[in-house]
Symmetry: C2
Subunit: 83 residues, 2 copies
């Protein structure tokens, strides 16, 4: 069994409107020194296999076909073996 942690981020070149909204919101809280806010996804899941190779393949498939929009986002993941 593996625990996977996936991080999905917008590419630097792509505007992040949600991040801009947070930047503006921070000013309402009188916080004036925040910039470059980028909002991505942090996904955790378990994969019930004993093969790290299979887990890697499945995660690539999952990210490519379901989780990430590869036109504007990049993904990375780590795998940790658990009992």
């Amino acid at each position: 069994m593996y625990k996977a942690t996936i991080i999905i981020k917008r590419r630097k070149s792509i505007l992040d409107p949600q991040g801009k909204a947070v930047e503006q919101g921070s000013k309402l809280l009188k916080i004036d020194d925040i910039s470059e806010v980028r909002i991505g996804k942090f996904i955790e899941l378990n994969i019930d296999t004993s093969s790290r190779e299979k887990a890697n393949e499945e995660l690539d498939k999952l990210c490519n076909k379901l989780l990430a929009n590869l036109n504007i986002e990049d993904y990375s993941f780590t795998l940790e073996e658990i009992k």
Copy 2:
């Protein structure tokens, strides 16, 4: 200047419908061994201050008032000094 990385996760006790949807979606991709999918947020931002203490305070405020819903979510962050 600091670069902050914030992770916001739903509490374990709170249902994650988006995660359930991913779990179901993975079955359509013929991936059958995925479970416990939890979808959170991964936020990066810069804070233009030389005081780590001030950066910490601002991040707490930002998470409490703007980024996290403390009824169902927990947050954590790390700070890294950059030039």
